[in-house]
């Protein structure tokens, strides 16, 4: 039984949407570490910022949930392992952050982005570390 995923051709559009939607955040990251208070975002309305956040998450999620060109049971297992590790990493990050900084608060979009990025990265690394003959 195969896990239901999006078709392979969704991968590139998903990544393109994520990259385009993330450009303001990346630029802002270099200009000023204080998100939402710097000049880059001052050029954009609050609604545009939210829209870009949502588009970025959706693009990354579409990329992460798209099938590989050849999708078999080994890759399914690698995906499952990546999800398991992502869950453990997310739990560790949140718990440690609460222990170290009692007033810790994280924006939901950052947490989701962190999870999807972590999952995509782990899956990519595991997939490419599988040797050929």
């Amino acid at each position: 039984m195969k896990t239901q995923l999006l078709p392979h051709y969704f991968r590139i559009p998903g990544m393109v949407v994520f990259i385009l939607a993330s450009i303001p955040s990346v630029i802002a990251g270099f200009v000023d570490a204080q998100f939402y208070t710097y000049e880059t975002y001052a050029l954009l309305s609050k609604h545009t910022i939210y829209l870009l956040d949502i588009l970025g998450i959706l693009g990354l999620a579409v990329y992460a949930l798209s099938q590989d060109r050849v999708y078999d049971e080994l890759l399914q297992r690698l995906r499952l392992e990546a999800i398991k590790t992502t869950f453990v990493v997310s739990m560790a990050v949140v718990i440690l952050s609460y222990i170290i900084f009692p007033d810790f608060k994280i924006h939901p979009s950052y947490l989701i982005n962190l999870q999807v990025l972590c999952y995509s990265l782990l899956y990519y690394i595991r997939k490419n570390s599988m040797p050929y003959a």
Binding site: V70, E73, L74, K127, A133
Partner: protein, 66 residues
């Protein structure tokens, strides 16, 4: 679980890519199965047996620790 996929491939003059293509999987998967890094599903094992024309238990055998 031990397997004799490599032997059967050689007997049928098949490369890993040939077998992978016939099974609709990646070459990495064939490599992982041959090197006991991954145990295939029953469906894949049966497909393999059908390609080699031998019973599935002739390709895969349990080891003591299984």
């Amino acid at each position: 679980m031990i397997n004799c996929i490599k032997v059967e491939r050689a007997r049928h003059n098949m490369s890993q890519s040939d077998l992978a293509e016939k099974l609709g999987v990646t070459r990495q998967t064939i490599y992982a199965i041959e090197h006991k890094k991954f145990v295939p599903s029953t469906v894949l094992a049966l497909k393999m047996a059908s390609i080699f024309g031998i019973p599935v238990e002739q390709i895969f055998q349990l080891e003591e620790q299984d």
